[in-house]
Amino acid sequence: MRNLLRASRFTLGSVTCAALLTAIPALGQAPASNRPDLTGIWQALNTANWDLQTHAAEPGPDPAIGAMGAVPPGPGVVEGGEIPYLPAAAATRNQNFKNRWSADPEIKCYMPGVPRATYMPYPFQIVQGSDTILISYEFADAVRLVNMKNAGSAPADSWMGWSAGHWDGNTLVVDVTSQNDQTWFDRAGDFHSDALHVVERYTPLDANILMYEATIEDPKVFSRPWKISMPLYRHVEKNAQLMEFKCIPFSEDVLYGNSGKEAAR
């Protein structure tokens, strides 16, 4: 009987404690020390870089390497399935698709912009500092500095845009503006104008998976905002690291060839 009473007191105490602990978050935003640390090496595991929309397999640009160079099939990452192009823009997209093996800026080792940098088939590293989150992408040594304090406005357009971040509970929200109009979303010719506005959300599902969502808005090209989403997986192998992928030397023949004037920009 005494043991039972003692046990009841303990249970009562812990119930009270638990009630108090769960009540604390309701008092305000989770303190900084409770925020997730996204530091680590991450990579998408899909074919979004080939084509954001669902696509079947098809031949690649070089028959000499056969199946190695083929376009793989893949489910799309666009919510609702289709990218809502305005009619004139849809025609441009089709033209891009026809010219994709020469017109894709990826061929020239140009920085890929946001969100393409996230789902290129190479790892990237998030370094979560105090006022700044640095994201280093293996491809073309591209980098982004996400300003978590006071980004102000961009003085001019850039390839990787101007990133202002804040926390929404456990989600890192990044608002990306001032990207130039030179990048594509994928190898299928999906494109945008310089009015592009991207809002990203990085939400941990567990210690090793982030759920990545990006809302894309560009009134010059699309009839409404649209959204992509995909998991990002942490590289958990020992001594994981990004390696140097300075691709400029691989692009110089294409860009400059034998006469700089003939090369397309």
């Binding site: 003085p155 001019a156 357009d157 004037k261």
Partner: protein, 130 residues
């Protein structure tokens, strides 16, 4: 003035590092200086060099568009300027060197406004040496 101080001045004159755009000698012709007067039609705020495009009216009355190569826009941004700092329609004078490839291009060795002031001179530098 002490001997050492004097030596310092002389050596300073001889040994100071000269930062030079060596690639410019491959791009522009030192034997072809050129002076242009024109009206800004477009600015490209890009690296490694920004470009100012100007319409130049020739003696024959024909208007020809020239591209003038200038410095890194990042230096400008740090001095408080941005993409709106050189409006289309501004008259500028360019004193530079002609491009070797025969195109209507020159480097903006010395760029001044109509009143003789050097372009962008006078803007503050918040990134001043500490």
């Amino acid at each position: 003035m002490t001997k050492i101080a004097f030596a310092i001045i002389c050596i300073g004159a001889a040994a100071a590092p000269v930062w030079a755009h060596h690639s410019f000698a491959a791009e522009f012709d030192a034997n072809k200086p050129i002076k242009l007067h024109g009206v800004v039609t477009k600015m490209e705020w890009i690296n490694p060099h920004s470009w100012i495009h100007i319409d130049v009216k020739g003696d024959d009355g024909k208007v020809v568009n020239w591209a003038i190569e200038c410095g890194s826009p990042n230096t400008m941004f740090r001095r408080g300027l941005n993409k709106d700092s050189l409006p289309v329609g501004t008259e500028i004078n360019v004193d530079g060197y002609l491009a070797k490839d025969g195109e209507n291009k020159a480097n903006g060795r010395d760029v001044t406004l109509s009143d003789g002031r050097k372009l962008f001179l006078g803007s503050s530098n918040p990134d001043a040496d500490k």
